[in-house]
């Protein structure tokens, strides 16, 4: 437990839920179109009643861009973690289940992924695929599955040693069915925790890649690209960076808190403590 009681779960859950709701209802919450409602005559207006978060250099309403940006940032976070979980679980399950040379290959791959820092790997993939939402999902979704892979593999091995799998096989269950009905439910808790914490990491990684010039495909906004673009003007036009910065901070904070809270519920033995 990182914060007292379940407060981290509730605060975190609240922040994340707010971000998700904003993303879902973006067209209704936003005041203007995030791309087309540009008017250079309105460029860089400080926050006021008409533009609650001010406008950017293109004269677009920053509030509306942040509302739509939630879609991009959350999509990147969620989709990349789904990728990571799928890859990790598939490799981990099959490696633990079949063992042998395949296990060696998977553990080799896992070591490989650990040895190349994920940001470097993501940088390489982004350079190859070029900037864009799909590229981001791929770059961040292919680079950090080693942890879920290990958990899945360890769970299979433990069930194996307890004879469950042997028994299921004797009953005539198929390999796939055993993996999905016997193994998967046991690791779902830790996986959700990993994915929640990973989502925060992915949103930050998106910002870092934007900073390096390899972010989302324009002109659709992401929080990372908005923050990155505004970095020369942090002092002179502060509202350009303050609001996307806060959006990133509170969403990632929410995800981290939620992950901590979920860990207490879903993973009391804390196989995910090491994150």
């Amino acid at each position: 437990m990182q914060l007292k009681g379940g407060s981290s779960l509730w605060i975190g859950g609240g922040l994340v839920a707010a971000a998700i709701l904003v993303a879902i209802f973006a067209p209704w919450i936003a005041l203007t179109d995030p791309v087309m409602a540009a008017n250079l005559m309105n460029a860089e207006i400080p926050p006021d009643w008409e533009y609650p978060f001010g406008t950017d250099a293109q004269g677009r309403d920053i509030y509306s861009r942040i509302v739509y940006g939630a879609r991009v940032s959350l999509t990147v976070g969620i989709a990349s973690q789904i990728c990571n979980s799928l890859i990790g679980v598939t490799l981990g399950l099959t490696a633990g289940y079949w063992g042998g040379w395949w296990d060696d290959v998977v553990s080799g791959l896992t070591n490989l992924m650990l040895a190349i820092p994920s940001l470097v790997f993501a940088l390489a993939i982004m350079a190859i695929l070029g900037p864009g939402l799909l590229s981001l999902v791929v770059a961040l979704g292919l680079t950090s599955w080693s942890f879920s892979c290990r958990i899945a593999r360890a769970q299979v091995l433990s069930l194996k040693s307890q004879g469950y799998i042997q028994a299921a096989r004797i009953l005539g269950y198929s390999d796939l069915r055993i993996m999905f009905t016997q193994v998967l439910p046991n690791i779902l808790g830790p996986l959700i925790v990993i994915a929640t914490l990973g989502m925060g990491g992915a949103i930050l990684a998106e910002a870092a890649l934007s900073f390096l010039g390899l972010g989302i495909r324009p002109p659709f906004p992401s929080w990372g690209s908005m923050l990155s673009e505004a970095r020369d003007q942090i002092r002179t036009v502060p509202w350009l960076s303050v609001f996307p910065g806060l959006a990133i901070f509170f969403t990632v904070l929410g995800l981290n808190l939620l992950g901590d809270g979920l860990r207490d519920i879903l993973d009391p033995q804390s196989t995910t403590r090491r994150t």
Binding site: A37, L40, A57, G130, P219, D232
Partner: protein, 530 residues
């Protein structure tokens, strides 16, 4: 028109400021901390191997070329030669070299050094970028192809006289002023460690290079210009990140900084910082290059419509924050062939709509526009264009790529259209050659524009010996480009260099503002750097 008047006034203001400074007596000694803003490292300190603007900042301190850009006279001037005489056919040039030029290792420069340096550049196995300039010398291509050991067009008359025969009737200054044609001492290059310990004949000696961080040079006391350089030490600090550069400049850790549009506004608004701003109309034209091989850009009316549909003045004013001059045609205002009577395409969406309808696109079309992330001629501009073109039905889909690969995309003709910044000077003839139909795509003919009238004008201009008449023809050619709109004419760059109040003698170099000749720079006693 108002714009142009303002432009002229600005130019005068800049020159006036320079004159006022010249009246003060330069102080000897001190340190200047120049910034290298374009990339996070230097490519190479061997000037022959690098075409990069970033590297030329260092080259200007350590090395020298046959010609130089004379900022005060706004023209090319002899640097390593005292005089030049040209033969009647205009092809052979005889240079009387300076006899007081000494390399940092103490040896005197002679005609042999020029011949050796130019021959080295033509080593075909190395692909030195300056080969494209040296190829103008007769026989240079044979060396490049390995068919000859010596360039036949270079002849040493005596130690300080060099005879150079060219293949075309051109002004040699345009070819022998680029930093990558520097004159190097053979014995130092052949030691094999030249890129790490360069030896030149410029005003400053190489002292230290921390790759990715800085180059430090020290005053060379045998420099050929009397009394110069003033500075004891000239440091070039790498700072590619604009936000960090801003902090460092305000914190007085650096003496110069290059400003982007956003910072330009902030610095102009600041009572202190606004006193140290050097502006110059650089010879870069920002434009969207249409590929005329691809539909619908083969149609002149579509290209004209786009020029009418975008409110470029508004973008220049609001988004680029007046850190640019609205482009009329291809050649920049500093070119002698620039026609001041022309007005840029007017913002007229009704006319654009009409042109599109005539061209068969009443409802517009979808358009993939390749762009880099550059804040002055990349993504932000495209983002501003999107809603404007949307109003005439054109749906722009930006394709973001890294700035490095822009050239390659252009050379391969993989683009439908691409926004970039193009060097458009100082050689107006060479600049316009990029629209000459027989120029290969890989040599800058990225539009594949084809207009026989334009070709004829260029052919005639190349043959014309009289500079005034030649400029006349080039002006007509440039005006043809205006009419045909092979590109979207966006703006000419206004380069802005911020400097600390103790810095004097900076030059408004329109070829590249960061390419300062550091021997003219001095700092007064209020400089905090030691």
């Amino acid at each position: 028109m108002r714009k142009l008047a303002w432009l002229a006034a600005a130019a005068i203001a800049v020159i006036g400021a320079g004159a006022a400074e010249a009246q003060q007596t330069p102080r000897k000694g001190g340190v200047l901390r120049m910034t290298a803003p374009y990339s996070a490292s230097f490519g190479s300190l061997d000037p022959h191997t690098t075409p990069r603007a970033q590297d030329d900042i260092v080259n200007k301190a350590i090395h020298r070329t046959l010609y130089n850009w004379d900022t005060a006279g706004n023209k090319l001037a002899l640097e390593l030669a005292k005089s030049v005489s040209t033969s009647a056919d205009g092809l052979t040039h005889t240079f009387k070299l300076r006899d007081d030029v000494v390399f940092h290792n103490g040896r005197k420069m002679t005609a042999d050094d020029l011949i050796w340096s130019y021959t080295r550049i033509m080593d075909g196995s190395k692909g030195y970028p300056a080969a494209r300039y040296i190829r103008i010398i007769k026989g240079a291509v044979d060396v490049e192809k390995g068919q000859a050991k010596e360039i036949s067009g270079l002849k040493k008359v005596d130690d300080f006289t060099l005879e150079m025969t060219l293949t075309d009737k051109v002004e040699p200054g345009y070819y022998f002023f680029a930093g990558s044609t520097a004159i190097l001492p053979r014995e130092e290059v052949e030691k094999g460690n030249f890129a790490s310990a360069p030896v030149g004949l410029g005003p400053f000696k190489f002292k230290e290079h921390v790759p990715g961080s800085r180059v430090i040079t020290e005053q060379f006391d045998k420099f050929y210009k009397a009394g110069k350089p003033y500075l004891d030490r000239y440091e070039i600090l790498i700072m590619a990140e604009a936000a960090a550069r801003d902090v460092a400049f305000r914190n007085k850790e650096i003496d110069t900084s290059i400003l982007g549009p956003a910072q330009y506004v902030a610095y102009r608004a600041d009572p202190q910082l606004s006193k140290g701003i050097l502006e110059v109309a650089e010879m870069f034209t920002r434009a969207i290059t249409f590929n005329h091989d691809a539909k619908p850009f083969d149609d002149k009316r579509v290209r004209q419509a786009i020029n009418h549909a975008i409110d470029a003045d508004l973008i220049v004013k609001r988004l680029v924050k007046d850190k640019a001059y609205r482009a009329t045609s291809w050649l920049p205002p500093s070119s002698a062939a620039f026609d001041k009577s022309f007005k840029p395409y007017a913002f007229d969406q009704a006319k654009a709509k009409k042109l599109l309808t005539e061209a068969g696109f009443p409802n517009g079309f979808e358009w993939e526009l390749t762009t880099s992330q550059n804040e002055s001629w990349g993504l932000p501009i495209v983002e501003a264009i999107i809603p404007m073109l949307d109003k005439v039905g054109i749906k722009v889909k930006p394709k973001l790529v890294e700035a490095t690969v822009l050239t390659e995309i252009l050379m391969k003709g993989e683009h439908k259209s691409l926004i970039s910044s193009n060097l458009t000077g100082p050689d107006s003839l060479a600049t316009l050659r990029c629209f000459y139909s027989k120029t290969p795509r890989t040599a800058c003919h990225y539009t594949n524009y084809n207009n026989p009238a334009f070709d004829n004008l260029l052919d005639a201009a190349a043959k014309e010996g009289d500079m005034a008449k030649r400029n006349d023809m080039l002006r007509q050619a440039n005006n043809l480009l205006y009419e045909d709109a092979p590109v979207w004419f966006f703006n000419y760059n206004k380069a802005v260099l911020a400097y600390q109040p103790w810095v004097h003698g900076l030059q408004a170099n329109p070829t590249e503002i960061t390419h300062q000749y550091p021997e003219d720079i001095w700092v007064d006693a209020s400089s905090p750097a030691k």
